[in-house]
Amino acid sequence: MPATPTPSPSSLSIRVNGRRVDLEVPTHALLLDVLRDRLDLKGAKRSCDMQVCGACTVLVDGAPVSACTYLAVEADGRDVVTVEGLGGPEALHPLQEAFVDHGAVQCGFCTSGMLLSAKALLDERAAPSEAEIVHHLRGNLCRCTGYRKIVDAILACAGGSGSAA
């Protein structure tokens, strides 16, 4: 039986929501677990655990990734944005405002993934069409809303201040 490798930790330096974080993590740690358990950022959720549902979506250097299937070591030296970095109770991000205004949140489980996917889209393309929004959200599943209000909320931000940093 081959020897089990001794886990050797890796030193990482990640900018999380604009703040530099230095950590030692096992090489086999997944980004989702590091965010939730080490950094207490519970917005990203473990749901399908296989990149299908989008509940674990975070942005790495602006691109949406499934944190459940992303090694933490890959984020070394990069910018990670979670929903906590979008805005907070004192100052909601325009996307968060729009979600509230349009009733696009029911149970809230998909919401952080939806918001971050939307932010990635609006950062890249300020005025996407409805078809482009629907295409972009194809990998974010919602069991509650039927998606209509989510798309309306993002449309409302499109072309407006939705892409504000």
Binding site: P5, P7, H28, A29, Q51, G54, V65, S66, L71, R138
Partner: protein
């Protein structure tokens, strides 16, 4: 939680080859990890070593020279989607990249990873057949060898890659000037149930087919070209494409009954979508706009 492993990050192919040669199938090649990490989470594969290919010089490039478009194995679908070089030489490939899986998978998943995993429902394995794709495999012991994609993909999750080899790039030949292509993928599940790629060259009057290429995938053990129908369509009037028929037996076209549907259903859908793909390719060849919206279908 994943089981522990050692992560190696070679900077050159010879370095990678040495690590792979040492560990063979106790090591797993790792790019985006979209399939690998999921299998590891399930405990279905337990590599002791992950060999990260993303820092190896040359595997992340896209280049076109001498009539060949070369896409490095570590290039992500997102990069293919946005690449001006791919758009210039094989626009259908760039457009289809936009629809692989979902936006998160496209951020990290790679062309090489997709082809080497040989998921029977892969988009690329079907589409790239249209471009007479060849893959380059490299090992420390043997150097590079090249083989047609049709020979590389042997069956579901099975390729001709030896366990000391790494897939380094895929080489595509652009369609002939004036040819128009289309890729339709159909299904309601996470992965497509059926993929059909078609390319047509029309005669100068744009009334008859001068040459045709057709590839069908996802329904059988591996994707394939429909060589018989391709030959049969030469000289056919464009109007006849709506009635094109696939002779599954003659083509050696097989379908597998599974959760996507019965073999009969899939073969029936292959008939339907081959006609739709031909119709769409022909319309593009004649510079016409047609409505190619079909239920549960992405039309590229």
């Amino acid at each position: 939680m994943l089981r522990p492993f050692e992560l190696r990050r070679p900077a050159t192919l010879p370095e990678l080859g040495a690590i792979l040669g040492e560990h063979r199938d106790a090591a797993a090649l790792y790019a985006g990890g979209s399939e690998l990490l999921v299998l590891m989470k399930e405990g279905l594969v337990r590599p002791r070593v992950l060999i990260d290919v993303k820092r190896v010089a040359g595997l992340g490039e896209i280049a076109a020279a001498d009539g060949t478009l070369r896409i490095g194995a570590a290039v992500t679908h997102r990069t293919v989607e946005r690449s001006p070089v791919v758009h210039a030489h094989c626009p259908l490939v760039a457009e289809a990249a936009r629809f692989v899986a979902n936006v998160r998978v496209r951020s990290v998943g790679t062309v090489g990873g997709n082809l080497a995993f040989a998921d029977p429902h892969s988009d690329l394995a079907t589409l790239y057949l249209l471009f007479d794709a060849r893959v380059a495999l490299w090992s420390g012991a043997g150097g590079e060898r090249e083989l047609p994609l049709a020979d590389f993909v042997r069956g579901p999750y099975e390729t001709a890659r030896r366990d000391d080899e790494v897939l380094t790039e895929v080489r595509l030949h652009p369609l002939p000037p004036g040819a128009a292509g289309a890729y339709l993928k159909f299904g309601v599940h996470e992965r497509p149930t059926l993929g059909v790629a078609a390319a047509l060259s029309l005669d100068p009057a744009r009334r008859r087919v001068a040459a045709a290429r057709l590839a069908v995938g996802c329904i059988g053990a591996r994707p394939q070209r429909l060589a018989g129908l391709e030959r049969g369509l030469v000289g056919a009037p464009v109007e006849a494409l709506a009635a094109a028929r696939v002779d599954a037996g003659a083509e050696g076209l097989d379908a597998i009954t599974d959760l996507h549907g019965s073999a009969d259903y899939k073969l029936e859908m292959a008939q339907v979508f081959v006609r739709r793909a031909l119709r769409l390719a022909a319309a593009r060849g004649m510079r016409q706009d047609i409505d190619a919206r079909y239920a549960h279908t992405v039309a590229v």
